[in-house]
């Protein structure tokens, strides 16, 4: 949703006046705040990622240096976690898109004639936001626990071997990521589908296109802005998430993602340079992926 709003720069057609002094006064506090607490921290992160241990200090004391080997070490040690993070995030994003599209289509197009139903259904989509996402994830952990109803049922129909688990597996982590980000996918999809002109669909049908052809050649291209925002709003946080993959939640040590390594290195091991290097790698890969993706899908006016 946020991404679509930034893409729609065309709304700025109110003949802006040229009093740049007033603009400066309006912009200064907020922009200064972001420079101080968003941009400077990113620079701190880059500086930290090159630091080396202080020979005369305690554990956790580092001095400024240009130790680029930090990156080699961090990536060398954690590359499986980096790959896993992007792999899980990719699968979760595709699943969330497939699950969310029909929901968004129903609320945005089919329920259009019933505004009250439409807004109540939307409330149900955002309802999970009103309860802590940690608790929601823990609820799934209980439901999928070894003594829980799901595992018992799956074992009774022999889908799961008798010593099998659901929690702590790649399945449960991807399940949790998909579940947690479905609202982030559904809302931007809804926002574009809600404005979909259904006469285009009728025109397609009149021209003897099958429902599937109409969907593929008309509906999907027209809802592309929503698909792009939804997939970005899901993929980016999912790739950096470390709650679902944490062993106290849906994961285990064999499902750890790069976010878990950043948390452990920063908050437990006090290996700040390694955590910083991993953060920079994560951010760089995401920016490259987002850049290529946005270019390929032809929505370059994102910013």
């Amino acid at each position: 949703m946020a991404f679509t709003a930034f893409a729609s720069q065309t709304t700025v057609e109110q003949a802006p006046r040229k009093r740049s002094f007033v603009a400066l006064v309006l912009l200064l506090p907020g922009i200064a705040y972001l420079l101080l607490f968003f941009l400077t921290p990113l620079i701190s992160l880059v500086i930290t990622s090159f630091q080396e241990p202080d020979l005369y200090g305690d554990i956790g004391d580092y001095v400024t240096a240009f130790r680029w080997e930090n990156y080699v070490d961090a990536v060398g040690e954690y590359w499986p976690l980096i790959l896993r993070a992007f792999g899980y995030a990719l699968v979760a994003t595709v699943l969330a898109l497939v699950i969310s599209y029909p929901i968004a289509y129903f609320i945005g197009v089919k329920a259009r004639r019933f505004p009250l139903l439409q807004s109540l259904l939307l409330t149900l989509v955002i309802a999970p936001f009103f309860i802590s996402f940690l608790l929601r994830t823990l609820a799934w952990k209980q439901i999928m626990s070894d003594e829980g109803p799901v595992v018992v049922f799956l074992k009774s129909i022999a889908v799961l071997p008798s010593d099998g688990h659901l929690t702590g597996t790649a399945f449960s982590v991807i399940f949790g990521l998909t579940y947690n980000f479905i609202p982030f996918m559904t809302l931007p999809l809804y926002a574009t589908l809600e404005r979909l002109d259904t006469r285009y669909l009728e025109a397609g049908a009149d021209l003897y296109a099958s429902p599937f052809t109409v969907f593929r050649t008309v509906t999907v291209p027209l809802s592309m802005p929503g698909i792009v925002s939804g997939t970005l709003l899901t993929f980016i946080p999912a790739a950096g998430d470390y709650i679902n993959a944490s062993r106290d939640f849906l994961g285990s040590s064999s499902t750890a993602m790069v976010g878990n390594a950043i948390e452990a290195n920063f908050l437990v091991l006090q290996n700040y340079p390694a955590a910083a290097a991993l953060s920079i790698v994560l951010m760089a890969v995401i920016l490259v992926i987002v850049g290529v993706y946005v270019r390929r899908t032809g929505t370059e006016d994102l910013v």
């Binding site: 129903f106 505004p115 259904l121 999970p128």
Partner: protein, 265 residues
């Protein structure tokens, strides 16, 4: 006939999918009535006791209070800063516009773990002690962009003729802003403030990096998850959920009723 059954399939799918989204919420609510010991895992029988003894769990109500305090403070700060930026972006032409748009877009495109680690690295470098203050600074930062996006849409939909009329009637710039522009922006600002509060209240990842020894409600849950969540956590979460959902539904029903009345007249 085929058309009708196809539409029905979508109905059924949507309701099943939404029911699926609600399963953990129902679970959390039901287990707030569980007559459990320290661990709230297996169902032990119904009790209202946990609702009456919320604050007997050590640190829980303090953490919840911290979350409310952080949420309110960072909402006020982020809403003020973000609203000013939104007005400037829509109403004025200035250099460095694309650089500023990028600066507003990037915090939303950066994973929380990177935002959290970056701020923590900065506080470490400068030697700031982490606590409530650093949590508020962090939450304000990530809320600003969302406020800008929300309020900007509202500013862009304002009719500039209304403000022109105010100026024609010799209103000072201050009068025009407070008597005309601001009241018209209130729905957008309110939506942005609600969004900020929700984002702040539920944030865990950035908080975890910048809170030091201070607990918020999500951080309390994270720490408790290692040894088992007391049912009182479910009580607080359920109460907050019910309050929020009632507010939203009442707002929607009254808006729908108003829309019906104005279209009827």
């Amino acid at each position: 006939m085929r058309r009708r059954t196809k539409g029905l399939g979508l109905w059924i799918y949507t309701f099943i999918a939404l029911a699926f989204l609600l399963i953990p919420i129902v679970y959390t609510f039901v287990f707030s009535f569980n007559d459990s010991g320290k661990l709230n895992i297996a169902w032990q029988g119904f009790t209202l006791e946990k609702w009456a003894t919320v604050c007997t769990v050590q640190g829980l109500c303090e953490a919840f209070g911290n979350s409310i305090l952080v949420g309110l403070t960072s909402t006020v700060l982020a809403t003020a800063l973000g609203t000013l930026i939104a007005i400037a972006l829509v109403r004025y032409r200035f250099k460095a516009r694309s650089a500023i748009s990028l600066l507003l877009f990037l915090p939303m495109a950066t994973p929380e773990v990177v935002l959290g680690a970056g701020l923590a690295a900065q506080f470490l470098t400068v030697g700031v002690e982490k606590g409530l203050g650093t949590i508020i600074l962090a939450h304000t930062m990530f809320c600003i962009s969302f406020v800008v996006v929300t309020v900007k849409a509202r500013v862009a939909s304002l009719d500039p003729a209304l403000e022109e009329a105010g100026r024609d009637l010799y209103g000072s710039p201050g009068q025009v802003f407070w008597r005309i522009t601001f009241p018209l922006l209130v729905p957008g600002i309110a939506a942005a403030a609600l969004l900020s509060f929700a984002l702040s209240f539920d944030d865990f990842i950035i908080t975890n990096f910048n809170s030091g020894a201070v607990d918020t409600f999500p951080k309390f849950i994270y720490i408790a998850a290692a040894r088992g969540i007391p049912a009182q956590v479910n009580v607080i979460a359920s109460a907050v959920f019910l309050l929020a959902i009632v507010l939203v539904v009442v707002a929607q029903v009254s808006r729908a009723a108003r829309a019906k009345r104005s279209s009827a007249s």
